[in-house]
Each structure stands twice: as C-alpha cells, then as structure tokens.
C-alpha cells in the first residue's frame, strides 16, 4: 500500500523526469544486452565455428566480419550503450542514494571499461592488423597472422562478454527497482 502512495506522489511531482529515467534506462538495458549478446555469439558459435576453418578461410571470414560489423545497426547497440548508460546515469544523479543509481553506475563502469574501451583498445587494433593481411598472402604469412590473432582475440572477447553480461544483469536489476527507493 505504501508503494502505491509513494508512486502517486512522485508521479504528480515529476512525471516528465520519471519518463526520462524510464526511457533512458530501458534503452541502456536494450543496447547493453544486445552488445553482450553479440560478444556471446562469437564466444559460443562464430569463433568456435571458424576455429575449424583452414587459415586462408579463417582470415578471409574474420576480415569480412570485421568489415561488415561496422554498420548502423551494430553501432546503435555498441556506441548506443555508452550514450544511453551515461544518459541514464545523468537522469538518476539527483537520487544518488537509490539502489537504482548504484546499479546504473556499476553497469556504466563494467560496460564502458570492460566492453567498450576493451574493444576499442584491444580487439579493434588486432582487427586492423588482421585487415592488412592480403588475400593472396603466402601460407606461412596466413598461418602467422592467424596464430597472432585468434587466441588473444578470443580470450579478450570472453572477457568483454563477461563484463557486458554482468552490466546487463545490473541494468535488469535497476529496471526492477523503483527509482526513488533503496529497496524493491
């Protein structure tokens, strides 16, 4: 019952702000979840499948994936998550003692460091290195390029999968908390 009363009051006081908080949190959860799912997809299917491919085909496929991933749909989730997470944090900054604020702050730290920056500073440079391998490179060159790329790339992909998945769980938790309360 007390829940209902509090809601009524806060609705009357700041309905637009509540809408902004709900919207930014919803979009952040969506974008972070999709980015986590993409990393997870590599870990459980794409990378495993390509592991069975010969070097030339591995390099060509990974080059094609790294080129095609640069499209508006993926960027909306990968960069969108950063924007929406920061927007959500800003929208909740007036309630720094709420459980929701802490979960959003945790998700920001996890995704921005362990998902976004890790990708930008580790995976992307490796992708750029791989992109320089010519299609008609010698078998030795292809084998060398693959050996330098595959293991470390898959390892760091696992790391960013774990970080972004925990960020996603934290955001779902934030969705379940009332915006102005420390408990459910």
């Amino acid at each position: 019952m007390s829940q209902i009363r509090i809601e009524t009051v806060s609705h009357r006081a700041s309905r637009p702000r509540t809408a902004v908080r709900t919207l930014t949190l919803g979009l952040a959860t969506l974008a972070t979840g999709l980015a986590a799912g993409v990393f997870y997809a590599y870990a459980v299917s794409v990378s495993l499948g390509l592991a069975a491919q010969p070097d030339a085909s591995y390099v060509a496929t990974m080059q094609a994936i790294n080129a095609r991933i640069q499209n508006p749909l993926f960027f909306a989730s990968f960069f969108g998550a950063v924007l929406f997470l920061l927007a959500t944090l800003a929208a909740h900054i007036s309630r720094p003692r709420s459980g929701r604020f802490w979960l959003v702050a945790l998700a920001c730290a996890l995704y921005i460091v362990g998902g976004f920056l890790l990708t930008a500073f580790v995976n992307v440079p490796m992708n750029e290195e791989l992109a320089r391998v010519a299609a008609n490179a010698s078998p030795d060159e292809l084998a060398g390029a693959r050996a330098a790329y595959e293991g470390p790339w898959n390892f760091w992909n696992g790391v960013r999968t774990v970080f972004s998945a925990i960020a996603f769980v934290a955001l779902i938790g934030a969705c379940l908390l009332r915006e102005d309360r420390s408990g459910r």
Binding site: I4, Y42, T61, I69, L176
Partner: protein, 162 residues
C-alpha cells in the same frame, strides 16, 4: 509474485535477452559477412558455425530459457488473477512461438540441408543464396520475438502486486 516465480521470470528475461543478442549478431553482420565471401568459403564457414553452435553453453541458454518460458506459461494460468499473469503468458509465448518455433521448424532443417551440401558442388551456390535470404528473414523474426519476450518479462517483474 513469490520468490521462486520471481527468480524463474528473471532467469527467463535474462535468457531471452542473451539469445536475442545472439540472433542480433547474425542479423546485423555475421550473415552479411559470410554472404560477401566466395560461396564455397561462405558455405564452409556457415557449416562450421552451425556445428559449433551446438555447444552445451549455447544450448543451455537457448533451451534452458525455453523450459523456463514453458514453466512461466503454466504458472501464468495458476496465478491468472494476478496483474502480472498476462505478461508472463505473453513473454513466454513470444519466446516459444517466435524464437524456438522458427528455430525448430525453419532454421534447423535448413542447417541440416546445408550440412549435406558439398561447398564445391554444382548447385551449391544457388542453394547458398536461397539459404541466406530465407535464413536471414526468419532470423530477424527470431531476434524481434526474443527481444520482445525479454522486455515483456522485465515488465512482468515490475507490475505492482495485487
């Protein structure tokens, strides 16, 4: 909502979200990348991905979530008077009908047919281009359904209790 149903719904919401993300990867770029390769290479890569996807981790996510969604549908009838019951039913049904349904009825049979295709054979390229078109369209649907299921189940957890 009691503790067990809450935990089950939360598990299903997370599972639907992760599965949606996997489908998203294929809809957004994996298939486009494979389509841009020479057919023989693209077919071999997709065959390998289809074999590799049958790992315990991914099967647990895909079918563990399906089990949870089935249980949520049953539970929704048991607690039908509650305001969240309709969301449990909708979320569970979206995932089972929209994500698992097409996977079993559409994708798995096509993947099996592709597995039998010799990448360098005559006609492989034709089959490959038809495969890509249909597979991708139905994958967009699986993605949308899993995503909607996840959102609906999160809403179910938030609906005020009676």
């Amino acid at each position: 909502m009691d503790g067990f149903l809450f935990a089950l719904t939360l598990f299903a919401a997370l599972g639907c979200g992760v599965v949606a993300g996997v489908f998203f990867a294929f809809s957004a770029f994996v298939i486009r990348a494979l389509a841009s390769l020479p057919a023989q290479q693209g077919i071999a890569a997709m065959q390998a991905i289809n074999v590799a996807a049958v790992t315990p981790v991914f099967m647990a996510a895909l079918f563990g979530t399906a089990l949870a969604c089935g249980a949520l549908i049953v539970s929704s009838f048991l607690v039908w008077g509650e305001p969240f019951a309709a969301y449990l039913l909708t979320g569970g049904a979206l995932y089972l009908l929209g994500a698992i349904g097409p996977t079993g009825v559409y994708h798995v049979p096509r993947n099996e047919a592709l597995a039998k295709t010799e990448p360098s054979s005559v006609g492989a390229e034709d089959y490959w281009s038809r495969y890509l078109r249909g597979w991708t369209t139905w994958n967009h649907l699986r993605f949308a359904a899993a995503l909607a299921a996840s959102a609906t189940l999160v809403i179910a957890l938030r609906v005020p209790h009676a």
